[in-house]
């Protein structure tokens, strides 16, 4: 273990530590961040009301909308000059969410990910090939800092250049691959084509995350790469990858509970649910200088378990994410919201066309089709112009979401409506649940 004292701490001691950290986090947020001060005062709840961990339920939730309202730096609890790095997740209605880090936050991030890499059986002798993108996306850098902390060798190759990835893993003797499951499956196919013998390569572990996955996908990955694959969970708002990481037992992801306080709520009523019950994950930063996020609704559906794990760790485990409580879909590792599609469609048509998003995975790669009902404002007597409209819709959606989609123009009212006249916006046929 990387940090045995914390990772095997008796539950009572964990709760005590969490309460202390929660109290100081809430007080700091209230004192330093006007947005919290106003939000909590209006809800008539104050730092001194937090006397037990359960008292956290008195605090109002934070959503992406709150974070957008504070765009770009309104959530910072420190002077801007203390911030040494920022990341951002894609905006859904124009404004993205910004995440800032002080030097201590970056150090803690490294600590958290180093624990996880250790859980996966890695140490300072390993060579980690990181195919997560380096940029505003937190995936690349989170793994990077963790590998540095661990003392392993990181290959910051980022995503793409798949044949080069294969060449490098063979030449450098990569012992750990980090990827999104769909990219990993693709990488495996290419590696087979190139004649890589994974029995010889000797990978020790794979860390995968940033998309929903199924047991079948994991099996396929493990079979291809001839090694164990471990899930890594995280989100930009709270930090990035590392919030939860799987251990050798592969029975849920251990949450770094000295840094994050997890809750499960009923997404419809907001009430807190008991251990083992499925609901929406709510997370709170317990130790973050730059921007303490308190009771953030992740929209991710999971359940929590607090029994001691086979690996000996006492830290809570979250189950694999099985869905979302909103309309977000992850395609090729990218989060897409219907609102982004709407925004793009409004650029080609003054009235919003009816549309439906259909996600499939014919083999290993996600495909996304946007059905758009033709309307008078999208229709002209000119085939060339109609083709141009189709192309434009595709381009706008790609600008908005960063991924290529297939656009098809369909007849008016051809997308099925419910009895209330509503269209089901997202049809996900990938069987990920």
């Amino acid at each position: 273990m990387w940090n045995e004292e914390i990772e095997t701490m008796p539950r009572e001691d964990i709760y005590e530590l969490q309460l202390k950290k929660l109290q100081s986090t809430v007080k700091r947020a209230f004192d330093k961040i006007p947005y919290y001060n106003k939000k909590y005062s209006e809800a008539n709840v104050f730092p001194e009301d937090i006397e037990t961990l359960e008292d956290i339920e008195k605090l109002p939730f934070l959503t992406k909308d709150d974070l957008r309202a504070c765009y770009p730096f309104g959530m910072f609890a420190v002077d801007k000059k203390e911030i040494i790095e920022v990341h951002s997740s894609s905006g859904t209605t124009g404004k993205p969410v910004v995440s800032g880090y002080t030097q201590n936050d970056i150090d803690n991030w490294g600590e958290i990910v180093a624990r996880g890499l250790t859980m996966m059986g890695l140490d300072s002798d390993d060579i980690i090939q990181n195919t997560h993108g380096y940029g505003l996306f937190t995936g690349g850098f989170g793994v990077h800092y963790g590998a540095h902390r661990l003392g392993a060798t990181i290959i910051p190759i980022s995503t793409g250049q798949t044949r080069r990835q294969v060449e490098i893993m063979a030449d450098f003797g990569t012992t750990c691959l980090i990827f999104t499951p769909s990219y990993g499956i693709y990488l495996g196919e290419v590696a087979k084509e190139e004649g890589i013998d994974f029995d010889k390569l000797g990978l020790k572990a794979i860390g995968f995350g940033a998309e929903m996955w199924t047991a079948e996908m994991r099996d396929r990955i493990e079979e291809t790469f001839k090694t164990k694959a471990y899930n890594i969970y995280g989100l930009t708002e709270l930090m990035g990858p590392g919030v939860g990481i799987e251990c050798s037992a592969q029975n849920g992801l251990h949450i770094a509970e000295d840094f994050f306080y997890p809750e499960i709520i009923n997404p419809k009523t907001g009430e807190t649910l008991a251990e083992g019950k499925h609901g929406e994950l709510v997370l709170t930063n317990l130790e973050r200088e730059s921007m303490p996020i308190i009771r953030f609704r992740t929209k991710d559906l999971t359940a929590l378990h607090y029994d001691t794990c086979k690996c000996g760790r006492t830290l809570a485990r979250m189950e694999r994410i099985t869905g979302r409580s909103d309309d977000m879909i992850k395609v090729k590792g990218v989060a897409i919201f219907p609102s982004q599609i709407e925004k793009a469609l409004l650029k080609v048509s003054n009235i919003e066309p009816h549309y439906q998003i259909i996600v499939t995975r014919p083999d290993i790669m996600d495909e996304i089709e946007i059905k758009v009902e033709a309307s008078a404002s999208l229709f002209s007597d000119d085939i060339k112009e109609m083709m141009a409209v189709k192309r434009k819709i595709g381009e706008y959606i790609q600008n908005e979401t960063g991924i290529a989609v297939n656009v098809s123009l369909v007849a008016p009212k051809s997308i099925p409506r419910s009895t209330k006249g509503k269209i089901q916006r997202v049809i996900d046929k990938r069987n990920l649940h």
């Binding site: 008078a376 229709f379 007597d381 123009l409 007849a411």
Partner: protein, 144 residues
Amino acid sequence: MYKITQLSIFLENRRGKLYNTLNLLAKNDINIRALFLADTTEFGILRLVVQDPIKAKDILEENDHIVKMTPIIGAELDDTPGGLSTVLKIIKDEEIDLEYLYAFTHEKTEKAILLLQADDLDNLIGILTAYKVPLVPAEEVYNL
């Protein structure tokens, strides 16, 4: 008087779609004078000349079709070999860009009618008139 109101209808390129649309018109006693279908793998544009374009448009729109009215013109040709190329030569020599054309014959006059669409219809009317190509008044086409 020479501008014929053509209906342009959006159709999905799927089995039965064309039939559904034409059947709808048949059931409502709409007589089709001429028809032309431009298609891509996914969708098509059905172009029709009918006796009563306004009535047809109303019926189609009531049944969830997207319909645009587009003006076109009709030139009369001899129904003999070379009839069409004579007109096309004029159009080429006068450097007119045609959008599309389609033709149909009818028994009444033993003539063929060539339906034409161009960016500048007025200019096209002027040129064909100058070359003495007979144009068919819209009313005449509707009521053939």
